[in-house]
Amino acid sequence: MIQPWQLVVLVPFAAALLLVAIPSYRAGAVVNVIASALTLATGGWLVVSDRLVGDYAIIDELNIVFVVINTLVGFTTALFSAAYIGHEIESGRLSPAFVRFYHAMFQAMMGSMNVALIANNIGVMWVGLELATLITVVMVGLYRTPQAIEAAWKYFILASVGISLAFFGTILIYLAGQPALGEGVPAMTWSLLHGVAARLDPAILDLAFIFLLVGYGTKVGLAPLHAWLPDAHAEGPTPISAVLSGLLLNVALYALLRFKMLVSAHPDALDPGQIMVVMGLVSLIFAAFMLYQRRDIKRLFAYSSIEHMGLMVFAFGMGGPLANFAGLLHMAMHSLTKSGIFFAVGHIAQAKGTQRLADIRGLSVTHPRLAVLFALAVLAICGLPPFGVFMSEFLILTTTFARDPWLALLPAFGLLVGFGALLLRLQGTIFGEPVGPSHRVDGSFVPVMLHLALVLAAGIFLPPMLVTWFQRAAELLG
């Protein structure tokens, strides 16, 4: 009988093959939405099916959280992108010839991310993440403007370097596992490595973790390895910005977490937590200050993603059931909110015909519904109650405070700085005199509203079932 984890991977890739054969843009968009819905359904099936540890796949509480977020945001992004790309073709910014393979690439990217998430083999995990990255590189360059090509080139160079370093780290982990597990596949199987982690050579583990941290950290967007991220977000099509921020960064973080679990299982190896705390704080505070200088609306939220990834890495670096719980929750909330924001930003950019913040003013006059949604989404990401982001940020800060009151000041400071910048920008875009042209928005607001509703619901009431699930995942993280 076919297993749900096989379907999570097979459905997107089968859809990608099918989509290659469909020349029409409209038919492709429909198939894309249906395939994403099917993947979401298999993701749901995965939640209720048995946990398993196999030769190829591992399904535990931890990666199911990631798979569910992945398939959910993948589905809503497919909905959003159907209208968005249609508008771009009509307005002549994209020619149909370039979007011929857009949907196939979208599905292939979703499939590769799922491969990386459920793989029990550290080599396969690497391949999945690498494939997803290369596909997004092509998609970032889709508009073929000089800026888009520059962004894609930079993304490609930095991502390749990151990927090469991560691969070297993977080889080192294999070398560490070889004496205990023998040659061949077992020494690359994560669950087996984790089982014998205490018997591995701590010096090799240390070196491997440094390579893996720099390699996968580049893709998480940790400062100072973040240079690709704002460009890639700003110049690519908006659905891709949403997927990059909401999903691909998570998958890279997931890979990092798996190796953190491995290394921290050895008593004499370095403490990965401390390094992650420092890198997370640097990213958080650096990105918060960078928010003030942004002139492009998508760049603004790209820096906000760096800020929040920094906060998550900080929380996971602190470790312990409570901080891990808060980190996981924050990851879920950030994915939903940030992709929702990018959907809203996509509508705004199409309505105003520009991404320049200076040219986006007075939305409350010209597009009242869009303005309300955008304002709510930005307030949510700022961490205002009653949204879920408030709860997760509050949890992270209180847990840190309980452990080390002085340390808690730093993330709190960073978040306040970021809060100020976003509020300042929000005020400018919503109020004031409208400038420049203004077009009607004909896309559907359902994806934005769905994300906002979920974040709001999570902020008001988190179902006990969800809490126990996240708690078990947090315990796995150690």
Binding site: G123, F156, I171
Partner: protein
Amino acid sequence: MSGAHDISHLLAGAMLVTSFALLYQERVASVLNAFAAQSITLALAVAWTAWSDNRPDLFITALIALSLKGIVIPLALRRMVERLGIHRQVEKVVGVGPALLVGLALTGLAQALVAKVATGTASHAREALALALAIVLLGFLMMIVRRNAVTQVVGFMSMENGLILAATGARGMPLVVEVSVAFSVLIALFVFAVFVFRIRERFDTVDIEALDRMRGDRR
């Protein structure tokens, strides 16, 4: 089997020498030649490992390295350089002297890192790993200190050469990974080629400097 290790070390050492050779070339065509020499040496090293360790699957990896990275890619890049009339000279961010000095330091760093780390493993595996790490770091250096798009591509592929050397040096690492590395190089080449051509459409040079002027947020 110490003779077998001597030969594999000789080949890995030869690859390291070509890594240095990549750094001091003045013409793009000679950079491509040096890269081809490195890839052919890699193919020999992998084939030697395949033969001496009795792992026939590695011959495939060697064949991919030889045909693709030793012959096809250098020829394709050379034709592109000629057809597009790109600067034939290598454009440097840092001069040859300092680049070579940094390269030496990186090689020393690689040796020191691995020597400190792998005390438990056999000495020959450790040395092979140190050489591979040095090649990876030198490829990295080349991507930083050379400006032209084609030389950056070469730097990246030289880095990948070091990775493949490391992967084959790790005894019994499953074939899955080697195929994936070859695969990644293929895709990488595809993407790179597409970019280089697209860049050509917009600019008269394949100089990364021209791209830097197109930064979105700095105007």
